[in-house]
Amino acid sequence: MKTFGGPAIFLDRDDINTDEIIPAKYLTEISKMALKPHLLEDLLLAGKPFDNQSEAMQKAQVVIARANFGCGSSREHAVWAFEVNGINVVVAQSFARIFRQNMFNCGILAIELAQEEIAALFAMTGRITVRVDISEGMLRAASDDPRQAELRFSFSLNLFDRDLVSAGGWLEFADKKY
């Protein structure tokens, strides 16, 4: 099975919406790659514009956020904007339904952890790398800070969503089955 994970970036806010992930003015693009520079362009964290060109952001393959991530519009462009930037996992306390389904439909992961587990991830020191094992249902977060112990959390994926990830997405799954 495909492996998921990599360097993590932390977005410390609830209710990050799809307009912030990819503003509507870029929805005129018909190529997913064209979305690449605009990921999280309108995001505000603590009321301030987020730097979407930082080194940490460029390297990130995992996003960690708080509750109700991906609320708002149905635009799958939000998921594609992550995908074309090499991000294959979003970890949050909860997701908006359409965004969550769009992630699994594209064969990438939206993982829900409990509020205190998300808080523990945010409290980690150093640079964090996350590894996700779907078959074990285990998420491991390791730090480059030797004083920071690795954190492990088990998670459960909806079995159907897991099948979509294995199939490579919903179109592939539905094409075979229906």
Partner: protein
């Protein structure tokens, strides 16, 4: 145990239950617009799957940016046009006949009680006003819908919101739904359907019910849904008159899409609207809502009246009541976009467009336009707009702009004074 409306619709459309938590439903209608559909079309073409499950069940429109504003939006329109032609999709609405999808498709009678409906647009929940299960989906779900006529859902639960009391003068369905979102918050209905009910709902027009259901998604809801009744049957009558002997027969038939008296809800709320004042949002989340009396005096640069939330003839009539014999305050820009060509024509014939123009409004063709900051009224950094639309996210109508969501009455009142104003003063 009894069933909710949604559970009855699910049971009658169930294709598969891949797990106990998931269901795959057969679709009655797949709605398409030019922002989320072209990528689905191109992907299907690339994969050698360029087919549609049933051209009669696909309804398509160019509405978000129309007329095209640049080469990219022109290409999105062209991809839609070519595709509709290639697959003989008859119900395709191009320039001259096009309007905001969630106003246009109901007007054409495409949405019926008991239907399953998807669209690559989060405000698809609007169509639940007809007693349908209607959900916004992403492009991949849309693609599968176009190709196979099915869609998967993690089975949603239903919460019931009973509306009681009487709406005060100058208070509308928009104020009610803003108050509801404030109460239940932006994720209060995630993975849930909001079933509206109660004596007040029975007295509301289809336009008002669509306004309520339209913003279910702003509370995270999968769909809003209203039990179909006489109001629904009267609205649909021109389209269903050959199927029923008379209106009463249709009303009775629609009762099969009512929740059973012993249906179970995950949560039930009762909201008495009698004392509710007009509502307006503050800041960047649709649950950040205040009584308009607390917001009075906030200056606005632009007033926008239109959209799938409040661009129907009833909404334009409301605004015109305040704008009649009045003019826009100096320095304020007013934009009105009737949601469909029919709304435009009615407004023209009723003298409403003349009232808007005499007041100093710019009358646009039907389009989604500035609601999502794509065209036709984008805000500059630091500008403020009072808008009858549904989202106030940061950057929504233009980077650095602020959007205050409100009813057509409240928007019109702000146009006249140049600041957020309690519209009841003018009524």
């Amino acid at each position: 145990m009894g069933k909710t409306i949604a559970q009855k619709i699910f049971a009658s459309h169930l294709r598969d239950t891949p797990t106990s938590e998931n269901m795959v439903l057969d679709l009655d209608v797949v709605l398409c617009h030019e922002i989320t559909t072209p990528i689905a079309i191109l992907d299907l073409m690339e994969k050698g799957m360029d087919r549609v499950f049933d051209p009669g069940k696909i309804k398509a429109v160019i509405d978000h940016v129309t007329p095209a504003k640049d080469s990219k939006t022109a290409m999105q329109g062209k991809i839609m046009r070519d595709w509709a032609k290639r697959h003989a999709i008859v119900d395709f609405f191009d320039i001259g006949k096009n309007g905001v999808c969630h106003a246009l498709f109901p007007e054409k009678g495409y949405i019926r009680p008991g239907y399953t409906v998807i669209m690559g647009d989060s405000h698809t929940c609007t169509h639940g006003a007809f007693g349908a299960f209607a959900a916004g989906v992403g492009t991949t779900d849309l693609e599968v819908g176009i190709y196979k006529g099915v869609c998967s859902f993690r089975s949603p639960e239903t919460m019931k919101i009973s509306l009681t009391g009487k709406l005060g003068t100058g208070v509308t369905a928009k104020d009610v739904i803003l108050a509801i979102i404030k109460k239940i918050t932006v994720n209060g209905a995630t993975d849930r359907i909001i079933e509206f009910g109660g004596p007040l709902l029975e007295s509301l027009s289809m336009a008002a019910r669509m306004t309520l259901c339209n913003m279910a998604i702003e509370a995270g809801g999968t769909s809003g849904i209203c039990p179909p009744d006489r109001v629904t049957a009267e609205f649909l009558w021109p389209f269903i008159k050959d199927e029923y002997k008379n209106l009463d027969e249709a009303v009775n038939d629609f009762k099969k899409w009512h929740s059973d008296s012993d249906a179970e809800y995950v949560e039930s709320l009762e909201i008495d609207v009698t004392a509710l004042p007009p509502q307006v949002t503050v800041n960047f989340k649709p649950d950040q809502v205040r009584d308009i009396t607390e917001m009075e005096g906030t200056p606005v640069d632009q007033v926008y009246i239109g959209s799938c939330t409040n661009g129907r003839i009833e909404d334009l009539r409301d605004a015109a009541r305040i704008l009649k014999n009045r003019t826009i305050a100096a320095g304020v820009r007013g934009i009105v976009t009737p949601a469909t060509p029919l709304v435009y024509q009615m407004a023209l014939q009723e003298g409403i467009l003349a009232i808007f123009m005499d007041a100093g409004f710019c009358v646009l063709n039907p389009t989604c336009g500035a609601c999502l900051g794509m065209s036709s009224g984008v805000l500059a950094e630091g500008e403020v707009c009072i808008s009858t639309t549904n989202r106030n996210f940061n950057g929504r109508m233009g980077k650095g702009g602020m959007v205050h969501l409100a009813s057509p009455y409240s928007a019109a009142a702000a146009a006249v004074t140049g600041v957020i104003t309690d519209p009841r003063k003018f009524l």
